[in-house]
Amino acid sequence: DAMVIQNPRYQVTQFGKPVTLSCSQTLNHNVMYWYQQKSSQAPKLLFHYYDKDFNNEADTPDNFQSRRPNTSFCFLDIRSPGLGDAAMYLCATSRAAIYNEQFFGPGTRLTVL
């Protein structure tokens, strides 16, 4: 089945230690998104790629970076995780950037010690 896959499902890191979260998709969608979701809150968009074009949200901290080496993969890099970065990170895809439903992966739960 076509799907959005996130690895790992659970990630534990130490304060200030860089961490990378991975997302892959078999849907062949053009757009990939990264969301941060804290407990009992709505997902918050960090950035998205339309093909190779990177679009950063204005309030996304510089501590968060992303890479999309090809259509299938997208990575979220947190350069120096703080305690406030502990959250669920959701990857999503859509066929196009305009009025298309988004398909979500299962998420990666990040814990910062």
């Binding site: 009992s40 709505a42 669920m88 999503a92 305009i98 009025y99 988004q102 979500f104 299962p106 998420g107």
Partner: protein, 112 residues
């Protein structure tokens, strides 16, 4: 400012009872509307969507939603709730073609 409001933070219903989750949006034009469900520790799953046409849309798992332009609402309904429906429900709006605006979510508890 554009916004999506889900007035009910938490709802408790008995199994077999009917359910309605409210969603209101503030936009000038008719946006694209979505309902997603999120089980604990999981990603979001699309229940249904409205783009145009018939204002009553059917989704998966027996859910339906009705778009009411006059009320700027897109409420989610289910005639008979099952215990497995316990989850977090998010209404989302896409009016710009560039970003989803999520509501703050409604947590549903189902009691036997």
């Amino acid at each position: 400012a554009q916004s999506v409001t889900q007035p009910d933070i938490h709802i408790t219903v008995s199994e077999g009872a009917s359910l309605e989750l409210r969603c209101n949006y503030s936009y000038g034009a008719t946006p694209y509307l979505f309902w997603y469900v999120q089980s604990p520790g999981q990603g979001l799953q699309l229940l249904l969507k409205y783009f145009s046409g018939d204002t009553l849309v059917q989704g998966i798992k027996g859910f339906e939603a009705e778009f009411k332009r006059s009320q700027s609402s897109f409420n989610l309904r289910k005639p008979s709730v099952h215990w497995s429906d316990a989850a977090e429900y998010f209404c989302a709006v896409d009016n710009t073609g560039n970003q989803f605006y999520f509501g703050t979510g409604t947590s549903l508890t189902v009691i036997p």
